[in-house]
């Protein structure tokens, strides 16, 4: 595929820039070098031109790598000189472009590069690293960065360079050539008294002069006598290794969050205070982009602690408040959405911990993210956070009930249920007539969480839902919400003539609902169903006995247990078996009184 890339894209065409050897007899090495240079130029152009996600880039990189491998295997190194407008290999120009804007030679030259050398053993990461640098080269701040610095910092093993530092000599600096010249510049002014380094606090809390301490100290002599005093132990070596590893990792940069908070604790002037807040804001962005939610949580928590516990001036409190509020901004929440969608390496409990700290202005952006997330576990995390943030703000959540995406509506219903406010019931009532069964089923569960008479009545109605799964949910939640009041409706269904026509799952749900209602008032009905003797339709009767015994076990009172114990003594083997099983089940849960 990569080979097809050659010449395919006009923007990358380097034909006019690459040397032509037509009609000439040239050594083979020049032909190979020209071929490599051609791909080198095209690949760099592609990396500078295309967005990073463009799939062609991988093809270009791989092709370039293969070309390098071929060349380096044969000739060991590929090095070329960089002039203002051209690249030359063994004193022969292989590339030339005098257009400053498009010339690759000038692009490298202007940053000081004068020669590049690629050596045998070149690895893929080095080619990728080099191309990344070239790509970044267009966006850097020239006062801070250049290609030479970036190449130097990457510390490639098989890519070397020569560069000029001419700009360092813009202002002439006198370098003393001999002692006399050196002496001319020596200053012998008395040192200031700010020799604060000279003081150390001793155990008594007094300041002691270091020089006096030193004069009295005998330990200096031990340096030459006892080398053990400065030999590193294996533990110290390992400790240093770990510290270097940690400190060299990009994440360690976030250590400055602590320093910024310290500055905020010390600073009384608005400008530096706000500067610190601004940097914290940038760091929060970076933390969210990298998915560092634990640190982001810490940052936000500390803001709240400062707001609650510090004696702040008005402008300080306002600045912190603004930063905390900005955590809920749409852009930031979108970032979180992207990280959550990535799935890999995201610890949802950490994300949840962070989201729960967000201010209420985050509710709408969070709901938007919820509508777009495809990862179910991540959706659950966001829902739980919205439950927490929105417990007093359901008005901000309700508009999403109208969303055309059923799954978002289901999430809204879930959230409203967990928040548990009766004010949400009209919206949930609407959900009970939603075309999507999963929304209705969520609706009955939410009613179970909210409870109260309104929820009770809606659950009674939901017992007639066309979908059995919704009816099961309705029954169970009715038992939970209505307690003994639900028995009328549940009992009616259980004892109805059509009961035997219901699916086993629904029958079980209805009996379980009676059990969940937990009232002894159900005992006569359940005892009757359990003990009922029948010569016909044994299977149907057995289903009812199983259900009744299960319900008795769930009720769990002493009286309910007595009924099961009675059944255990029955002459009917089936009743005995069913009751024994139910009692075993009951024994595993604490008895109710």
């Amino acid at each position: 595929m990569a080979e097809d890339l050659e010449g395919e894209k006009k923007d990358l065409d380097a034909a006019d820039e690459i040397a032509s050897f037509e009609g000439e007899e040239v050594e083979e090495v020049f032909l190979h070098a020209r071929d490599l240079m051609n791909i080198f130029v095209k690949t760099i152009k592609a990396f500078r031109l295309y967005p990073p996600e463009n799939p062609s880039l991988v093809g270009f990189r791989d092709l370039l790598f293969r070309k390098f491998q071929f060349f380096l295997k044969r000739y060991h190194t590929f090095s070329f000189k960089i002039e203002e407008y051209d690249f030359s290999f063994n004193n022969r120009v292989l590339y030339e472009n005098k257009e400053l804007k498009t010339s690759l030679a000038f692009f490298l030259y202007k940053d000081g590069l004068r020669e590049l050398r690629f050596m045998e053993g070149l690895e893929e990461w080095e080619i990728q690293g080099f191309l990344d640098i070239v790509k970044r080269g267009d966006q850097i701040n020239k006062m801070e960065e250049d290609l030479v610095t970036m190449i130097w910092e990457r510390d490639f093993v098989h890519i070397r360079y020569q560069a000029t530092d001419e700009f360092l000599d813009e202002v002439p600096v006198i370098i003393p050539e001999n002692i006399d010249q050196f002496r001319k510049h020596l200053t012998f002014e008395p040192l200031g008294h700010q020799v604060y380094d000279d003081y150390v606090v001793n155990e008594a809390g007094e300041e002691v002069n270091y020089y006096e301490t030193m004069a009295k100290s005998s330990s200096s002599s031990s340096l030459s006598v006892n080398r053990n005093v400065y030999l590193l132990t294996p533990e110290e070596l390992e400790g240093l290794r770990k510290e270097v590893e940690t400190e060299a990792s990009p994440i360690s940069l976030f250590n400055i969050i602590d320093i910024l908070f310290e500055i905020m604790a010390l600073e009384k002037k608005p400008e530096p205070y706000r500067d610190s807040i601004n940097v914290l804001s940038k760091l929060l962005d970076a933390l969210l982009t990298l998915g560092e939610f634990q640190r982001a949580t810490d940052l936000l928590s500390r803001l709240y602690i400062i707001l609650k516990t510090y004696d702040l001036q008005g402008w300080q409190a306002k600045a912190i408040q603004q930063l905390a509020e900005s955590a809920g901004d749409e852009q930031r929440i979108e970032k979180i959405g992207k990280v959550l969608e990535r799935r890999e390496g995201v610890r949802l409990e950490e994300v949840g911990g962070y989201l729960k700290l967000l201010p209420s202005n985050s509710l709408q952006p969070l709901m938007k993210v919820l509508g777009e997330l495809s990862n179910p576990k991540a959706r659950r995390t966001v829902c739980d956070a919205v439950c927490q943030i929105g417990k007093d703000q359901i008005d901000r959540i309700l508009p999403f009930m109208e969303d055309r995406r059923w799954y978002l509506v289901r999430n809204v219903v879930y959230i409203l249920g967990r928040i548990g406010k009766e004010a949400a019931i009209p919206s949930i009532q609407k959900a009970l007539s939603h075309r999507e069964m999963r929304v209705r089923r969520e609706g009955v569960h939410s009613l179970g969480f909210i409870g109260g008479s309104k929820a009770f009545n809606l659950l009674v109605k939901a017992l007639q839902d066309p979908d059995m799964r919704v009816r099961c949910g309705a029954a169970l939640n009715l038992g939970k919400v209505g307690r003994k009041n639900s028995l009328v409706y549940l009992g009616e269904l259980i004892q109805s003539k059509d009961f035997h026509r219901k699916e086993p799952a629904e029958k079980k749900a209805l009996f379980d609902a009676v059990g969940i209602a937990g009232s002894n008032e159900a005992l006569p009905m359940l005892q009757k169903l359990l003990m009922k003797r029948t010569w016909f339709r044994r299977r149907r009767a057995e289903d009812s006995r199983e259900g009744a015994a299960g319900a008795l076990a769930l009720i769990g009172t002493r009286e309910a247990k007595s009924v099961l114990e009675l059944g255990q003594k029955s002459k009917n083997a089936t009743i005995r078996r069913i009751c024994q099983r139910a009692l075993r089940r009951q024994a595993s849960v604490p008895q109710k009184f």
Binding site: Q162, G192, M214, S219, V229, L237
Partner: protein, 495 residues
């Protein structure tokens, strides 16, 4: 011109053959062992003849590292790319305690222009001795050495050993020429002093700071220190060229880079350490000169001003327009360089936290350089070994104990610039410390001769030199002296 040819960072994961559990990979261990034993043998070959019992013992030890490895892996191949060691293509990370030996070994090989050693079959004791004595007697800086060794080995019927040339870019030759290295280091030093001046004035006059320039200078400093730290470390004896404050910042940067290198920081972080050293005192720019230069006791308000400089410095960096990794490092260094290891010092912290390694390194470098500066009243001796002793005493309270130890190993118990009285009653200045830890108390000394009312440069002597009977050293240090007492400005002998 500057150039870069260094290998990848130490301890940077699997690419270096490091296992995730932090345990040394077998080739790394074997590689380390091979280098240690081979270096000892090479060093022995320069001191003893081939029939000496010590040579026999060292040869046997080296063979124990070579033959079992060749037997199991078919060959043993050591490649040196600058001071990176690749053992059968796996990079060997250098730990702080072995840093010196690895460094001196790479220098020894570089002097001989040898960059590769390969054993393709097991070797016996005479063959290894032949090889090592051939190596030890090679001319310095001769690019054809590898051809000579290979031809010699072939003519002696030794087919299991080959060597390869040291690879370097054309302009790198100055790096193996100590005089050029010294000149190069001098340029870096004085250009950097000038840069610190420019930056300080730029901040005062609210001009844009040319960070790129500072970065390039620190990259050059890192290159120089990685090649041979002694040239730049020697220049830290300069304390009052133009302005103490600027000298101090450059010195702290040099100490910090050298210390960072010893503990294995990658290049990028080393240059950031240098920048952190250069600008750790940037907060002092806001302190009026009258306060900074006041020789009387400071008032409480003036003290408060002084003690605020770490925070003010951090705030100045925060205000930089561009914001990235480097800014974070500069903030760490500025804010933390007066915090002590036990979190006392200043600024007072609102919450306990770990001081960053950057902060701890800058604190050690800052303290040492501040204390070794010449005192105006000279009440107390200016002897760096006393300061090192004090730092050891205060390790665990004021400083990270491990860092203090690395620092002492780095600058030696007789640091560059130390004025010493020798057993021969001569006096001299330490001009080169020994990388070999066993010889840490035997530096190279520039003897001083007194004439026309002042001390002048005499000849250089190596305190490792033995007397003719090889029973004892020719010279040893009896004690160190305070240069102020002798009116000697040691920097003059090191520039």
């Amino acid at each position: 011109m500057t150039q870069d040819t260094r290998g990848r960072t130490q301890w940077d994961g699997r690419a270096d053959g490091k296992t995730s559990g932090g345990q040394d990979h077998v080739p790394e261990m074997m590689g380390t062992e091979f280098i240690l034993r081979f270096y000892r043998l090479l060093k022995g070959a320069s001191l003893y003849d081939r029939n000496n019992a010590t040579i026999e013992r060292l040869t046997q030890e080296a063979l124990q590292a070579i033959n079992p490895f060749v037997q199991s892996q078919d060959h043993l191949f050591l490649k040196i790319v600058r001071d990176n060691f690749f053992f059968n293509n796996i990079r060997i990370p250098v730990k702080a305690d072995r840093y010196s030996i690895f460094k001196i070994f790479s220098q020894e090989m570089a002097r001989r222009m040898i960059g590769e050693l390969e054993f393709i079959e097991e070797v016996n004791s005479p063959a290894l001795k032949d090889f090592v004595f051939l190596l030890s007697k090679l001319d310095e800086g001769n690019e054809s050495n590898y051809l000579y060794v290979n031809r010699q080995l072939e003519s002696r019927g030794i087919h299991g050993i080959t060597v390869g040339k040291l690879e370097f870019l054309r302009d790198e030759d100055f790096l193996i020429d100590s005089e050029k290295q010294k000149q190069y280091s001098k340029q870096i030093y004085f250009k950097t002093v000038n840069l610190v001046r420019e930056v300080s004035e730029g901040i005062r006059t609210q001009k844009l700071i040319n960070v790129r320039k500072a970065k390039h200078l620190m990259q050059s400093a890192v290159n120089s220190i990685m090649q041979d730290e002694s040239a730049l470390l020697g220049l830290t004896n300069i304390k009052n060229y133009d302005d103490y404050t600027f000298n101090h910042c450059v010195n702290v940067a040099i100490y910090a880079i050298a210390l960072g290198q010893r503990i294995g920081f990658p290049k990028k972080q080393l240059s950031h350490l240098g920048m952190a050293g250069l600008f750790h005192d940037i907060g002092k720019v806001s302190i009026p000169k009258e306060v900074l230069n006041k020789t009387d006791k400071l008032s409480p308000q003036e003290w408060a001003m002084i003690r605020a400089h770490p925070v003010v410095g951090a705030e100045m960096v925060i205000r930089l327009k561009e914001w990235g990794e480097l800014s974070a490092r500069l903030i760490d260094a500025s804010f933390e360089h007066h915090l002590k290891y036990d979190l006392t010092g200043y600024p007072k912290l609102a919450r306990k936290r770990n001081i960053t390694l950057f902060g701890k390194i800058i604190a050690v470098a800052d303290f040492y350089d501040a204390l070794v500066r010449p005192r105006i009243y000279r009440q107390y001796p200016y002897v760096s070994e006393k300061i090192l002793g004090l730092m050891l005493d205060r390790a665990g309270r004021d400083f990270d104990p491990a860092l203090v130890k690395v620092f002492i190993n780095m600058i030696g118990i007789y640091p560059l610039g130390t004025l010493a009285l020798l057993s021969t009653n001569e006096i001299g200045i330490v001009v080169q410390t020994q990388e070999d830890p066993e010889m840490i108390d035997r530096p190279k000394i520039c003897l001083l001769q007194y004439s026309d009312g002042e001390y002048r440069k005499g000849g250089a002597v190596d305190l490792r030199e033995m007397d003719e009977g090889m029973r004892s050293f020719k010279r040893s240090i009896v004690r160190t002296l305070d240069p102020n007492e002798y009116n000697i400005h040691v920097a003059e002998f090191l520039i």
